[in-house]
């Protein structure tokens, strides 16, 4: 065996030693266990022997404490633990005698604890845990000052010259770095070893890892030379990509990868804990980082970069903000022509969490509400058992048990049950969290970091403990509330259903209904919002489309050469059976995000500022038909719109109205781009929701790819009459005929893209609807429970009423009346709370008011319906009470 003299686990051994402190035979008993432990170690192996020891020693310790003489001679653990252990043993016996009730209760508690634990686990990486960087509290996000209502990336990114000046002149920072927010427009095709593979990379300033405090797993970060324009080609590999493509071989560091035909040296491997995408671009994939030169060449690209700064110890985000504001003002004064200056500082964590912060808080709140409902429900279930337990406690009291001891006993039972629930809840949370963290394409930051860890289990245990005490206390006080003699005399039924206890149970049901109402209203409003998002007129037809990003394996010298290549590719694909239409675009909707400035020829020069620029689309003449975008006025591009012919553009309808309110946009000219070209509007097309279904279309301008060469690559969109998996191989083959070295395996659908854009909305909706569903079921159970007990208790009263002439329907009416009264009370309270919380929810709603009466009305009807449904069985049972039988029972 591995260890010649195995020794048993120390914790259970110490526990046993303490439990045996008063026992003269203790050393021999420890020896007996030790001996058998060694035997098992040899026969069955260390793990099973240790498990056996833990179990055996714990059971023996509990048994010795529970059966120790009642008055131990001196203090220590035994003096405190013995009566407690006796109570524990008694509680365990009592729970074992009613396993179905215990399991049901534990399952309900498990639901609540599981919901809270899972919600906490999801929220933790974003709102609780520090970001996975060195001293993350000192890190701040620096973006350009956004124009209110302006949603494009170009509006919040900065020019790289700003970074140069901030680095040089701002005193608040130990370092400032940045990355290219538009990196996704470049795809890196890896060739040279096996199939060409398209990789996603982000360009970062050379000191990116230094400022964030990230140590590469192998190799180093970028050097200053590599960060220069035209510097040596270098690349850092993402840990996951390194594992996948190179099986974690550290030997890859120092070798060269051929990316887009250019060799780049692998200088390092990013650590496992740092996934660039999950923090800075949730929902996307990043395989590698490349240097992004902070240089005059990149500055000319305009607003492209986000900055991240590390504050000095004596600086705060506020002081840094003040300093940068001063700096910006003085730079602007020195260089009046300089544009794109601005800085807004946000603590990095706040920035990362911002898009989902209110969703997460609502999620956590909803989970807490579910747990509260669980507490109320279980409390009610325990209260319903009060009459039965009262007699048992009366007997114990008559035999000399103190009130405190009985309360402790009952609390032990409820916490024991709750702890069992905590186990179930932790299991439930583990399953849910595993499901969520593995889900692809949900745009929630750091989703891959969520797990049920020690702190989540601590939350589960604490929640269960609190639940156990909370739900046990009221019934325990009730049960142990005295009047033993009376209970015993009353022949064993206990003081069943006193008015006070029934009132209390009804109040609990009202609370439960109110909480359920709040969750249902929130869920209903989000559902209506989601429906509204799905109903948005997108302006294009996402169904039956498949898209490829084309990354030609060679560079082109002229616009003509480029457009011929893409023309050829589109023509080839158009011949594939099943292809209805083919289009080319540099920026399909729901993906890329940028704006360009412009001037209307002969118009207001400030117009570009007030409209926030326009979204440019570089497309071919097949794009509009393939997307299903209608031309409203004028014409589409034609094969004659080529380099050298008159520059033409199309404009969307909203843009046309905004820029040319007084007449048709056709024939008008806009000035944009560096060369001062005037572009004539020859067509007006339908509005397209470019960024997301929820955001206004803004001004959109379409340029012909044959006239403007301002794209790295183009996306090819195919509209098909056959399923995706049928069309894909044909298109891939056609594309490879055009360029055999072009990777073609990566493709996506606009429907998938739409799903991804809606993913965080759908995610929060699903969770909230699940919570609301649980709440509704629990509330229904609560109503049923209270009425069933009440009908059973009041059997004699009902029978007397019926004997005096009340009919069955009268009785049903009375029970239902009571139910509706309870439901109404719950709904009133719940509605009031919902209205109070409407501000919190408003930021998540779309196309629906937080006070939407349709939702509220629907939820009221639902709650009344469920209440009546839950009351149906008890009510009919009441109507069947036959006078004589009920009285005979009495």
């Amino acid at each position: 065996m591995n260890d010649p003299v195995p020794s048993p686990p120390s914790l259970p051994r110490r526990l046993l030693e303490s439990a045996l402190a008063q026992d003269p035979a203790a050393p021999a008993i420890l020896g007996d266990l030790h001996e058998e432990f060694v035997g098992r170690w040899e026969r069955r192996g260390p793990t099973r022997a240790r498990l056996w020891y833990v179990r055996e020693a714990t059971l023996l310790a509990v048994s010795r404490l529970a059966h120790a003489p009642s008055a131990p001679s001196n203090g220590g653990l035994v003096a405190i633990a013995t009566p407690l252990m006796q109570d524990v043993a008694y509680a365990a016996r009592s729970l074992r005698s009613n396993p179905s009730f215990v399991l049901l209760t534990a399952a309900i508690v498990g639901l609540g604890v599981g919901a809270l634990t899972a919600a906490y686990s999801v929220v933790k990486p974003l709102l609780v845990a520090p970001l996975p960087f060195e001293d993350p509290g000192q890190l701040v996000w620096i973006q350009n000052e956004a124009v209110p209502g302006e949603n494009s990336l170009s509006a919040v990114t900065s020019r790289t010259s700003n970074l140069v000046d901030f680095r040089e002149r701002a005193r608040s920072f130990e370092g400032i770095t940045g990355y290219n927010a538009f990196s996704e427009q470049t795809v890196y095709t890896l060739t040279g070893s096996g199939e060409p593979e398209p990789l996603r990379g982000f360009g970062v300033a050379h000191d990116f890892l230094d400022v964030l405090g990230i140590e590469p797993t192998a190799g180093r970060g970028f050097s200053a030379a590599e960060g220069r324009w035209g510097g040596p080609g270098a690349v850092l590999l993402d840990y996951g990509f390194w594992q996948r493509r190179f099986a974690g071989d550290p030997g890859v560091v120092g070798t060269a990868l051929t990316l887009n035909g250019t060799p780049r040296e692998v200088v390092g491997i990013l650590p496992e804990g740092f996934d660039f995408a999950s923090i800075f671009r949730p929902g996307a994939r990043v395989d590698l980082l490349v240097p992004f030169p902070i240089a005059p060449e990149t500055d000319r690209w305009g607003n492209t970069a986000f900055f991240i700064g590390r504050l000095r110890d004596d600086a705060s985000p506020e002081s840094a903000q003040a300093e940068l504001q001063g700096l910006v003002a003085s730079l602007q004064q020195d260089q009046p022509d300089r544009w794109g200056l601005g800085a807004e500082i946000i603590p990095l964590r706040t920035h990362v969490a911002a898009p989902v912060r209110s969703s997460l808080l609502i999620l956590l709140g909803a989970a807490a509400a579910v747990l509260l409902i669980v507490c109320v429900n279980v409390s009610n279930m325990l209260l319903a058992r009060v009459p039965g337990r009262s007699r048992e406690m009366a007997v114990r009291a008559a035999l000399g048990a103190s009130r405190g001891r009985m309360i402790r006993q009952l609390l032990l039972e409820s916490t024991g049950t709750a702890m069992l629930g905590a186990l179930l809840g932790a299991g439930l949370a583990w399953v849910v969290v595993g499901f969520v963290s593995g889900a692809d394409g949900i745009q929630v930051p750091m989703l891959d970091q969520i797990r049920v860890d020690g702190s989540a289990l601590g939350i589960a245990a604490a929640a269960a403990l609190a639940t156990g005490l909370l739900v046990g206390l009221i019934p325990a006080l009730h049960v142990a509330g005295g009047g033993e003699a009376g209970i015993l005399r009353s022949g064993g039924r206990g003081h069943s259903g006193s008015r006070g206890s029934r009132r209390l149970r009804e109040a609990l049901v009202v609370a439960e209904l109110a909480l359920a109402c709040v969750l249902l209203v929130a869920g209903g409003l989000l559902l209506r919002s989601f429906q509204a998002v799905l109903d948005v007129e997108l302006g294009f037809e996402p169904a039956r489309t498949v898209a490829w990003q084309l990354n030609p394996s060679r560079d082109f010298e002229t616009l003509e050469e480029t457009s011929n290549f893409y023309r050829l590719a589109a023509d080839r694909v158009a011949e594939v059976p099943g292809v209805e239409a083919v289009g080319l675009s540099d920026a399909l909707p729901l993906g890329r995000n940028r704006t360009w400035g412009f001037q209307v020829v002969g118009g207001d020069p400030e117009l570009s500022e007030t409209t926030g620029g326009f979204y440019p689309h570089l497309v071919d003449d097949g794009y509009l038909p393939s997307m299903g975008i209608e031309v409203v006025e004028g014409r589409n591009f034609g094969s004659w719109d080529i380099q050298g012919s008159a520059p033409v553009v199309l404009m969307n309808a909203s843009g046309a109205t905004a820029l040319f309110p007084d007449g048709s946009a056709l024939g008008q000219r806009i000035l944009t781009g560096g060369e001062g070209t005037e572009w004539e509007v020859v067509g007006v097309v339908e509005d397209v929701r470019h960024l997301s279904p929820e955001l206004d279309p803004g001004v959109q301008v379409y340029f012909p790819v044959t006239q403007l060469w301002d794209y790295g690559t183009l996306d090819l969109l195919v509209r098909t009459s056959v399923p995706e998996d049928v069309i894909v191989p044909g298109v891939a083959t056609a594309l490879q005929e055009v360029d055999p070295a072009m990777p073609v395996q990566d493709h996506w659908t606009l429907e998938g893209q739409l799903r991804e854009v809606n993913s965080s909305r759908r995610f929060i909706l699903q969770v909230l609807v699940a919570f609301a569903g649980v709440a509704l079921i629990l509330a229904a159970l609560g109503i049923y429970g209270v009425l069933a007990v009440s009908v059973a208790e009041r059997g004699p009263e009902i029978s007397i009423r019926m004997a005096l002439g009340a009919s069955g329907p009268d009785v049903v009416k009375r029970v239902l009346g009571r139910t509706l009264a309870l439901a109404a009370a719950g709904i009133v309270v719940g509605t009031a709370i919902s209205l109070g919380l409407s501000d919190l929810l408003r930021s998540l709603l779309f196309g629906v008011e937080a006070t939407d009466w349709v939702t509220f009305g629907g939820i009221w009807l639902l709650l009344f319906g469920v209440a009546v449904f839950s009351a149906a069985v008890p009510a009919t049972r009441a109507a069947r009470v036959r006078g004589i039988r009920a009285l005979r029972v009495e």
């Binding site: 003299v5 035979a25 050393p27 021999a28 020896g31 060694v38």
Partner: protein, 111 residues
């Protein structure tokens, strides 16, 4: 159920098992014997409690004895012996059982 000699059934079994041991009876050996031959699961808690009770009644006595066996991890061994009173109680139980059994038909023993 108490036997007429004031011994519970399990107590009697423990007593007899101690007597059956050819040499040096101690708790682990008694437990093994009971699990193997009395066809019942014996928890440690129950066994030690029974030994305590039998000791209180004066039917068994024990002393700690240093043990050289490495598997005991340096812990001593409890050598248990049945006292003359214990032996008498076992004999009394046997007589009573015999009286009651002898009056019966073959008691369902199939031929």
């Amino acid at each position: 159920m108490m036997s007429p000699a004031g011994l519970g059934e399990f107590e009697l079994l423990v007593l007899l098992s101690i007597l059956r041991q050819a040499q040096d009876p101690y708790a682990n050996r008694v437990r093994e014997d009971l699990e193997t031959h009395a066809e019942r699961r014996v928890t440690r808690g129950a066994l030690y409690r029974t030994l305590d009770r039998l000791t209180e009644k004066g039917l068994v006595a024990w002393e700690l004895e240093a043990s050289e066996v490495p598997a005991r991890g340096g812990h001593p061994m409890r050598r248990i012996r049945v006292t003359p009173e214990g032996l008498a109680a076992a004999q009394r139980s046997r007589e009573i059982m015999r009286t009651f059994f002898s009056g019966l038909d073959p008691l369902g023993d199939r031929p």
